[in-house]
């Protein structure tokens, strides 16, 4: 019965076609990601220091990383950063996508400018933000001084609190367009007659939003969330330029910890950090997929 049921479900020709469709993509991914990743995993089991003999040490690298207070601090920061950034991005992304989905004068202009933040390379936009937050001659402090808020300039990247929110601001500014683009295309695909039906059924603006837009956009939204989360959890460029992990390492994300280890010739430990980062990303994604009813939606 079991094997029969399996045959039941699949059609050999169709299976073949499906694999033909998948193979090119899978091939590239396997060659350029999976194999290096397996190499990384393998490498994480070694003491891999250039000026010392390579030695198999099992999971010692992992133990070292996990036993390191810096790791936990970086993890805490990364998670906090991700949660905050993703929530804000989703909020603004949804807001703007809904707005840009309406027809009104000037929509074309707004649709163009919304792409700007995303289109500027991170290393540039991070510098722009650095300039904006700059204590001495930044734009923000110019306003602070000249519009007469509080007393004197604010050290935007100075305290871990301010630095955190500065990073968040820059990140949200930069990546909200990503969410907007995905959601906007998703919104276009919602059949208009459902809205019409809902109007006739007496549902007002917010009710329609809640019961139709949100529900039908959900698969797309989840995907935007997943990729934003994956990227936020691996944030690097922005922090590297904007705060360099400071002050006092309080804004150092996991990826930067890994990067430091790599640059400081701790390849085994760097790999261990990478693997751990990966595991965390993976777990969180699984949670998303579970809540997003991925299976149900795509089968």
């Amino acid at each position: 019965m079991k094997s029969k049921q399996i045959f039941q479900q699949y059609e050999s020709r169709e299976v073949l076609t499906a694999y033909l469709f998948l193979i090119p993509a899978l091939f590239v991914i396997i060659a350029f990601v999976l194999i290096p990743v397996l190499g990384t995993f393998w490498g994480s089991l070694f003491r891999d220091v250039t000026y010392l003999p390579r030695k198999f040490i099992g999971i010692q690298n992992f133990l070292y990383v996990v036993g390191n207070a810096d790791f936990w601090r970086a993890l805490r920061f990364t998670l906090l950063f991700t949660v905050t950034a993703v929530i804000l991005e989703t909020f603004f992304g949804m807001l703007f996508a809904l707005l840009l989905n309406e027809t009104f004068k000037g929509r074309g202009f707004l649709r163009t400018i919304i792409l700007i933040p995303w289109a500027i390379p991170t290393i540039v936009s991070a510098k722009v933000w650095k300039l904006i937050f700059d204590y001495t001659y930044g734009m923000l402090n110019f306003f602070v001084v000249n519009l007469g808020f509080s007393g004197g300039k604010i050290n935007w990247l100075g305290s871990s609190f301010a630095a955190f929110w500065s990073l968040i601001t820059a990140e949200v500014w930069k990546t909200t367009p990503f969410v907007v683009i995905i959601l906007l295309a998703g919104l276009q695909a919602i059949p208009q007659d459902l809205y019409q039906q809902a109007k006739v059924d007496g549902a007002g603006l917010f009710k329609r939003f809640r019961t139709i837009t949100i529900k039908l956009i959900q698969p797309v939204l989840i995907i935007a969330l997943i990729f934003r989360t994956i990227d936020s959890l691996r944030i690097f460029d922005l922090v590297y330029v904007l705060t360099g992990g400071g002050p006092g390492g309080s804004t150092k994300p996991l990826s930067m910890l890994g990067f430091e280890m790599y640059t400081n010739d701790l390849f085994g430990k760097g790999s261990a950090v990478s693997i751990i980062t990966f595991c965390i990303v993976f777990l969180i994604t699984i949670v998303y997929l579970k809540t997003g009813k991925f299976r149900e939606r795509f089968s």
């Binding site: 350029f32 990601v33 009104f104 390379p121 540039v124 001659y137 995905i182 295309a185 990826s255």
Partner: protein, 275 residues
Amino acid sequence: MKEKTVKRVLMTLGAGLLTFFTLLPFIWMLLVSLSSRPDFLFSGTAQFSINNYINVLNNSSLHFLDYVKNSFIISSITAIVVTCLSSCAAYAVSRMRFPGRIIIPLFVLTMSMFPPISIVGYLYRFFSDTGMLNTPIALILPYIALTVPLSLWINMSYFSQIPLELDKAGLIDGAGRITILRKIILPLALPGIFSSFLLVFIACFNEFLFALMLTIDYNAQTLPVGIALFEGLHGEIPWGDLMAASAIASIPLVVLSLIFQKYIIQGLTAGAIKG
């Protein structure tokens, strides 16, 4: 209150917020690019001119236009290839029945979760061994691998919004899977396809780490790397040049976004099925 009024108020607020939110840093960037010094707000002595632009475009040892060209070529090729690969894959995953249709997209997604730093060493060795270092290929291939997951998942979700009946109609009308994908699914998923194209394009346009490690000079280096080279040894940043370069670099993307608008079309599937 009337729904229309509520809507109008919300929209005006949203539009204002959006404009302020996106443009403020950008305008600041433009101002800096036009001024002779980045601290003009405080010093008040800066001159405004397009000298920085001229400088960036004219200075041949900067190779700025080479970077733009490389970026454009690499991003376009990657985005086109990725769009093709991932639409095929997304089609299979979202509309065909085969063992692995759940696990394969998950696998692909998983593959996008690695910190890129951990695989760049391998790639360097690979491309160096195969003599492809410092060629566009050395970036295109990893970029494809890195962006296929995003594109696949986005396309998957857009495809799943298209009624399955249309594939069935296609099958009945004698079309093979490729024809169905090409003539039915792709046109209908166009907003989705194009937005994933755009996202992939921009992701490649902005990628820094791989571009830095896998290229050597202006024959293959991309814009972010080129811009990073503006910086001096002790962190001296020629702000004006940097911002001018960034402003120029955003022009292709503005063009792209104008095209993007054309493909964001409402209600493509209207009238398809009854039910």
